[in-house]
């Protein structure tokens, strides 16, 4: 059985092929979902990949949340479907209200593209189902607006509820609480700034992102199997 993952493409998205290739290497099957099409075509999971959806006009993700596909993504998420936003996709998910918080401009006021060390803080989400708690990963970041921002009370609540999924061991952007990735309460919607698809092949210099993508494929298969039972 093959996990079918929808990869949402907005004009300006640029990591969709990289995500599709990385998922393909791990046995998944990617299907591109055009932003104007409100139909998810029966995929078992959705990835919102990195890039500059709608040119990041206004601010990252601010316009993408209005694309027709986002209504379907919200419905899919509400029904427990696995949804992962990577980098710009994370920004879109926060703008769409599917994840708490917001992503601000990096503390350095500069774009940053380099590998960073992360720690898995929460297992059992659609992105960390196969990871171990406390596992350290090296995965590249690549963003100008990656500083996680949230009011202190909400951050406390997120920490208490285990919604901080990934944490930087060396904070590259000034994120509050060193947050690199968060999930919703149910754990089926996850956003992260690092790019697991950029650490998914030995030729890229690392494979630490594989465990995250494998987790997503497993979550997709679970959903597919439960759907088949229904």
């Amino acid at each position: 059985m093959t996990a079918r993952v929808g990869v949402v493409v907005f004009p300006g998205t640029n990591c969709e092929h990289d995500v599709a290739e990385a998922l393909g290497r791990l046995g998944g099957e990617a299907r591109m979902l055009w932003h104007q099409d409100p139909d998810l075509h029966g995929v078992d999971a959705v990835v919102l990949p990195g890039g500059f959806a709608h040119g990041d006009y206004l601010r990252p993700g601010a316009l993408a949340r209005f694309s027709p596909v986002m209504g379907a993504v919200a419905d899919f998420a509400a029904a427990g479907g696995p949804v992962v936003g990577i980098c710009n996709g994370f920004q879109v998910l926060t703008e769409a209200g599917l994840l708490p918080g917001a992503l601000g401009v990096n503390r350095s006021l500069r774009f940053v593209c380099r590998p960073v060390r992360l720690r898995v803080e929460r297992t059992g989400t659609v992105l960390t189902g196969q990871a171990e708690a406390g596992q350290e990963l090296v995965v590249p970041v690549n963003h100008f607006s990656g500083a996680y921002r949230v009011d202190p009370a909400t951050l406390e609540r997120l920490e208490a509820a285990g919604q901080v999924v990934l944490r930087y061991l060396e904070n590259p952007n000034g994120s509050q609480g060193d947050v690199a990735g968060v999930c919703n309460e149910a754990g089926n919607v996850v956003g992260l700034m690092p790019h697991p698809e950029r650490a998914s092949d030995p030729l890229q210099g690392g494979t630490d992102g594989q465990v995250l993508l494998r987790s997503l494929l497993a979550a997709a298969l679970d959903r597919s199997a439960s759907g088949a039972r229904r």
Binding site: P11, G12, N14, C15, H17, D18, E21, A22, G51, F52, H54, G55, D56, Y57, S108, R110, F111, V112, C113, R114, P140, N142, F144, H195, E197, R198, S200, D201, P202, L203, Q204, G205
Partner: protein, 736 residues
């Protein structure tokens, strides 16, 4: 003379003789619109009028060359039904006036050159030359340039995988920003910008046309700057403004149009805008084009036809399409939210010559009527008077360079260290998942793949190199050394050199010394490329790099592309590992001519060391085979700028491992920048030695790795911890 009495042709940058020649080409005096069109097409930037004559001496053909210089990009067959498109350009003057937009739109232009050919851009490289960072204006330049590359390149979705970052006094007022793009295409998708088929439609794709960039190729790119700080600020309106989001959608739409074979021809709009795209496309196809200037979408009302025809507004392409395919084209453009406007029609030639006519509305008044080839191909061609510069008398420059004590030598080396990570970590250098060896090493190594072109196992290595110190010392020999360095870098990455592109950045060609430098640089390039069987598939000549009458040092940048038949993750890189031997491959040399070491002592060091292409080829072949042998090499680095001393220091810093180096007789051997030498770090020295001897490459033992110092007893003693601080801090110290 005040501007209101200046004759129009001079205000537009044409000489009196050139204005006469325009009249001769038309058989009548040109009207102001026609004169404006000629002024941009006959600019130095577009016509290469001072360099064409010399560029003919370059070797441009080879069995793998599919498209040589003269098209939008060079194209080389790399097997498996794939070809690589490559192009390099300068964006010097725009970046000097407005660093962020100048650098950004340089990227936009080079990408369009590459996807015009049907190729998917897979990598960018950005050689940058700015003034000393002690100068706040130079810091503003560099910071802005890097921001421009970061903002545009990252957003348009093409990784920036390499380049150069040089800071030297000669670039304080006239900096250099070169930009190179590599693309890949299935060979059968190769597209040429050639209008055909009278009756076919001419469609303008992309952004609306505004008043930005008017005169960009002529008054901005083809004239020098004045001396005082801020000179050139008044030329800011001639700099274009870029929008990477528009470019991204335009690129996706154009690649889909080519993939679906909906186009007859495609040409980018860059320097000289619509005039250039229309005249070149028509001239290449031997046809004419009627353009309705009113049909061109505009950003603002009140633009004159001359403004529309010469605007360099970014993110525009010119397509030629059969009328029956227009609806399909429109559908693709609508999906990508790219504006497509029919603005003209291909016309048959009249008496054998295609004519570019500008009409005021469909069937309206003829505003301009010019033979397309007169604009595109028949600009004047100059042999500028050339004279070598006065050389210092031998008694004023003894060539000898005094030795330094080991601590002073270490301080000198430390002052040369600069980690380029400050720049390249602001660039997305990983997108597309192709980057095997990223920026900061000898060569960038990439998978040969792109969206729509699955990876089939091959790789590309690429390196862009310049050295104004060598080329000021001896432009001919200096350029041969650049070819040597770039090919060696590519071989260090495991690539077999397959082609070269060049960007010749020079001063004012009306200065006889600069005209001489141009001749010499071309001669050196031709000589080295012929000797290495390396075809030159494209290039750019950027002249008038001067400020206040002071020319920059000749700064040819050569970029070499190499092919790897296979890739593996553990390719050797610039680094040392502990407990290994250091070997020098290539003949030990000690000439100091043109070296940093000599320069630091205020001496020339004597003549530049010569380049021996026969020995060099043997070294290239040996390296490619050693690099591909798993486990044989643990690290390697070519010897160039800064000599063995800097090569060893960079190796040690990257690995965090020191070395003890013996077997060097003196500091001449340590600091010579003579070509065709590589340091390798290996735990299999006997096997490397045997391979070198079998290949006829001299090999000598340098010492062993380990410890926390780079120690060359009696010659150099560098503490790695403090060197590391100097290396990491060199750029952030000034720029953060």
């Amino acid at each position: 003379m005040s501007s209101d009495t200046l004759p129009l042709h001079r205000a537009l940058g044409l000489t009196d003789d050139e204005a006469q020649a325009v009249e001769g080409a038309l058989g009548r005096p040109p009207n102001p619109l026609e004169l404006a069109m000629f002024s941009v097409m006959w600019s130095e930037h577009c016509s290469y009028k001072s360099s064409r004559l010399h560029l003919r001496r370059l070797p441009t053909s080879g069995p793998a060359v599919l498209v040589g210089p003269g098209e939008n990009a060079g194209v080389v067959d790399v097997g498996d039904g794939l070809a690589v498109a490559v192009r390099i350009e300068s964006h010097n003057h725009p970046s000097a006036v407005e660093p962020t937009q100048g650098a950004a739109t340089g990227i936009g232009g080079i990408l369009r050159d590459v996807f015009t050919m049907g190729a998917r851009p897979l990598a960018l490289l950005d050689p940058i030359y700015v003034g000393p960072l002690e100068d706040p204006r130079s810091r503003w330049h560099l910071d802005g340039i890097v921001r421009g590359i970061s903002a545009y390149g990252n957003a348009v979705g093409v990784p920036t995988v390499g380049g150069e970052l040089v800071s030297a006094p000669g670039y304080a007022r006239n900096l250099l920003v070169n930009v190179m793009c590599i693309g890949v295409l299935p060979t059968e998708r190769l597209a040429l910008a050639r209008a055909e088929g009278p009756g076919n439609l001419v469609v303008l794709l992309g952004a609306a046309t505004g008043r930005d960039g008017i005169g960009g190729v002529s008054v901005l790119a083809s004239a020098g700057f004045a001396a005082e700080p801020g000179a050139g600020d008044e030329k800011r309106p001639s700099v274009q403004v870029g929008d990477p989001y528009e470019e991204k959608r335009l690129m996706e739409a154009c690649l889909e149009l080519l993939e679906r074979r909906l186009l007859v021809a495609l040409c980018d709009l860059g320097g000289a805008g619509l005039t250039c795209a229309a005249s070149e496309t028509a001239a290449r196809g031997g046809v004419g084009i009627d353009l309705d200037v009113r049909a061109v979408p505009r950003r603002e009302p009140g633009m004159t036809p001359a403004e529309v025809m010469t605007s360099e507004s970014q993110e525009r392409m010119l397509a030629v399409v059969e009328p029956a395919r227009l609806a399909d084209l429109q559908e693709v453009c609508d999906r990508w939210e790219v504006r497509a406007s029919v603005i003209g029609r291909v016309t048959p030639p009249v008496e054998g010559r295609g004519r570019l006519r500008v009409l005021d509305g469909p069937g309206g008044a003829v505003l301009a009527d010019v033979p397309a080839a007169a604009l595109a191909d028949e600009a004047p061609c100059y042999r500028r008077p050339a004279r070598p510069p006065a050389r210092p008398r031998p008694e004023d420059d003894p060539g000898e360079v005094p030795a330094l004590d080991p601590g002073a030598a270490a301080a000198l080396v430390a002052s040369w260290l600069a980690d380029p990570a400050w720049a390249y970590q602001q660039y997305d250098h990983q997108l597309l998942g192709n980057t095997v060896v990223g920026p900061g090493g000898d060569a960038a190594v990439l998978r040969l793949a792109a969206p729509g072109v699955p990876w089939r196992g091959k790789g590309l290595a690429v390196s862009a190199d310049g050295n104004p110190r060598w080329c000021a010392h001896d432009p001919r020999v200096g350029t041969t050394l650049l070819v040597a360095e770039a090919t060696l870098n590519v071989a260090c990455g495991g690539g077999r050199p397959i082609c070269l592109v060049n960007c010749l950045n020079l001063g004012n060609p009306e200065h006889p010394e600069v005209a001489w430098q141009l001749e010499q640089v071309v001669d050196g390039l031709a000589e080295a490329c012929r000797a290495l069987d390396l075809p030159v598939v494209g290039g750019n000549v950027s002249l008038y790099n001067e400020a206040g009458g002071q020319d920059i040092d000749p700064t040819p940048v050569v970029a070499v592309l190499g092919l790897l038949d296979r890739l593996r993750p553990d390719l050797p890189r610039v680094r040392l590992v502990p407990g290994a031997r250091l070997l020098l491959l290539g003949r030990p040399r000690d000439e100091l001519g043109g070296s940093r070491f000599a320069q630091a002592a205020g001496r020339s060091g004597g003549p530049l060391p010569a380049f021996d292409p026969v020995a060099h080829r043997r070294l290239l072949d040996l390296l490619v085979s050693l690099v591909h042998e798993p486990g044989l090499l643990d690290g390697l680095h070519d010897v160039a700028d800064g000599g063995l001393a800097l090569a060893l220091a960079e190796l040690a810093l990257a690995g965090g491992v020191g070395a003890v180096v013996r077997g060097l007789p003196d500091q001449r051997a340590l600091f010579s920048e003579a070509p065709s030498r590589v340091v390798v770090c290996t735990r299999e020295p006997a096997a490397v030695r045997a391979a070198a001897e079998a290949a006829g490459v001299p090999v000598s033992d340098l010492g062993e790795t380990g410890g926390d110092r780079l120690l060359v007893p009696g010659l150099l003693d560098l503490d790695l911890e403090s060197a590391h601080r100097a290396w990491r801090g060199a750029l952030p110290r000034w720029l953060d």
